[in-house]
């Protein structure tokens, strides 16, 4: 008799999801599924709207990563206009995306994952949160909060609002910060760098004591996909697509993002609303790939800034080359914060930012546009088709969490096989399954209502539908 263990919903991720672990007759884990049960519907909702409105609309998909949608959407608009935006506009967009990387990664590490990592997976769930971290290590907790504030303040400085800043528009951006405002950010960078370097030091010490997690949190061969610069350097806003395998071989490189369909196809499963993209040449599901901070660091030849490149070198040394364990997502996230801080410093000193030319003016010159950028969680695609009046005819969005869908399912199964036995899940095993998902920092549809508390419910269901066991948390 096949039995199922259901974890519904997963806590501390964006959006709503549940996990089911399917056991075989012997009580061993046969399969695991990460169900995304919310239907967002933005692609259909946007049809008929002017493409000029799309940055402002799609930024509302998410309250955590609005900037990512804003930039990808504006870039799709640039393509429809057929313009090259002014240098100042591109640098300001880059600045905003770097602020987004800082705030989002800081939220993921310091608020969501650090309680697991620093307080322990088996610690009391009632205190395994940011408040528990505050009690155990108030200095680190406060520093993490201030780091996230810096990223948010950069976004606010540019967009005028911390979330949903309709600031990037097709053709460029609406405004630039003053020299005094830029100086205010520069003053805060040393403290931010010290925070992330301290976090890196702590995380590297954890690697030595979490061998089980490193070995079982999504540790398997896969492809890695993301944007790189013309020489293969780390890229977060523009560039071209590169795909690397777990042995470090580059199997696709400098692919024009507008031709993403040449290498990416999307499968659908009946048990989830989240699409399952795969690398087209290797088929489904063999074309599984990962995106996001770990992928970006695995595919790039170098980051291009001093401190981050030193950390990248050490990470590769520890991983033995390409890092195949998703536990390393946390590590990569911290390195990317460091890289972002270094890049922010460089951009803020750039004299191009004083230019008053921020926007290229044009009308509809193409009926199709693809905008691609690196969101904190991975490569984000906005693909629009418009009519002669610029009204949206069709929208296709591929979000980072979708790219990682196949890998997340495999990660859950791997963790469950290691930590789940029989028809009961202990608290530590339960949290490891969740933490395995959180390593990807998934951002599901967070566009619907979440009121009150989000309890964790674990249900054990027999093949005939009988509920064998149920555990609630929170």
């Amino acid at each position: 008799m096949t039995r199922h263990i259901l974890i519904d919903p997963v806590t501390r991720i964006e959006g709503h999801a549940k996990i089911s672990i399917h056991l075989d007759d012997d009580g061993n884990v046969a399969e695991a599924r990460f169900h995304v049960t919310e239907f967002r519907g933005f692609e259909r909702f946007c049809e008929g709207r002017p493409f000029w409105e799309m940055p402002g609309i799609t930024a509302r998909i998410c309250g955590i990563c609005p900037v990512s949608h804003l930039l990808a959407s504006a870039k799709a608009g640039d393509a429809i206009l057929s313009v090259v935006i002014p240098p100042a506009a591109e640098k300001l967009r880059r600045l905003m995306n770097l602020g987004q990387i800082v705030q989002s990664h800081a939220l993921s590490f310091f608020h969501l994952s650090a309680p697991d990592l620093l307080l322990g997976f088996d610690s009391d769930p009632a205190t395994r949160n940011v408040f528990g971290l505050m009690a155990a290590d108030p200095t680190l907790a406060r520093a993490g909060i201030r780091l996230r504030q810096l990223g948010q303040d950069i976004i606010a400085l540019l967009g005028g609002s911390k979330i949903h800043p309709a600031w990037a528009v097709p053709g460029g951006v609406r405004s630039a910060p003053t020299a005094a405002q830029r100086a205010g950010i520069i003053e805060r960078l040393p403290e931010a760098r010290a925070t992330v370097l301290d976090a890196l030091r702590r995380f590297k010490a954890l690697l030595d004591t979490h061998a089980d997690e490193v070995a079982t949190f999504g540790n398997f061969p896969s492809l890695f996909l993301g944007l790189v610069g013309p020489n293969g350097e780390w890229e977060h806003y523009d560039g071209r697509l590169r795909v690397v395998d777990s042995g470090g071989a580059i199997i696709a490189d400098q692919v024009d993002p507008s031709r993403y369909r040449d290498i990416i196809a999307e499968a659908i499963e009946p048990w989830s609303y989240l699409k399952m993209p795969y690398y087209r040449p290797r088929g489904y599901p063999g074309g599984m790939y990962r995106v996001g901070p770990l992928a970006r660091l695995n595919i790039c030849t170098r980051i291009g800034t001093l401190l981050a490149d030193a950390e990248l070198g050490e990470m590769r040394q520890r991983a033995g080359g390409i890092a195949t364990s998703s536990f390393y997502y946390h590590y990569a996230r911290l390195i990317e914060i460091l890289a972002a801080l270094e890049r922010i410093s460089l951009i803020l000193d750039d004299p191009d930012l004083d230019s008053p030319r921020l926007r290229a003016e044009a009308g509809v010159n193409r009926f199709e546009g693809v905008g691609v950028s690196e969101a904190p969680r991975g490569t984000l695609f906005h693909h629009y088709t418009v009519d002669a009046h610029g009204l949206i005819q069709r929208v296709n969005l591929i979000i980072a969490t979708g790219h990682n869908n196949l890998a997340m399912n495999r990660t859950i199964a791997q963790i469950a096989r290691h930590f789940v036995h029989g028809d009961r899940i202990g608290e530590g095993a339960l949290n490891r399954v969740e933490a395995g998902i959180r390593a990807y920092d998934p951002c599901l549809s967070c566009s619907t209502h979440a009121a009150g508390t989000m309890p964790l419910t674990l249900t054990l269901v027999a093949a005939d539908g009988t509920v064998l066991d149920e555990v609630r948390r929170g």
């Binding site: 806590t11 959006g15 509302r60 309250g63 939220l107 608020h111 408040f131 948010q152 979440a450 009150g452």
Partner: protein, 152 residues
Amino acid sequence: MHYLIIGYGNDLRGDDAAGRVAADTIAALHLPDVTVLSVHQLTPELAPILAQAHEAVFLDADVSGCQVVRVTHVLPRTDGQYAGHVATPGALLALARAVYGRSPDAWLISIPAIDFTLGAPLSPQAHDGVVQAVDIVHHMLASADRASAAEP
């Protein structure tokens, strides 16, 4: 006395916007010593703003099925329900207290919500709830001002 009003929800999802619509209505009144924020969701950076407020009012859509506008006193809560997406008013108050040393007296005004369709306007029920919620906030602010004036 500094009052903070935070309305939150997704303004593209029908009644989920009820808290934000109420907040926007209050913001348009430009009341003295009142800061009004209209946000997609409750996120950690609101904690320092909360810590500076004397009193706070959260305005949110209520998906419980309750048919009336409800006012609930909110206390700081540290019992685990804190995250980027699911931060509650109580968790934010706790974060403000933990990081910045204080949190304001706070209330949650819950507005009945029934329709979360993409792009839909507020349902008549939610619209009525918004009107009531704004009225309640008015009374709360007036009461607080009277209490403040009566203090020696």
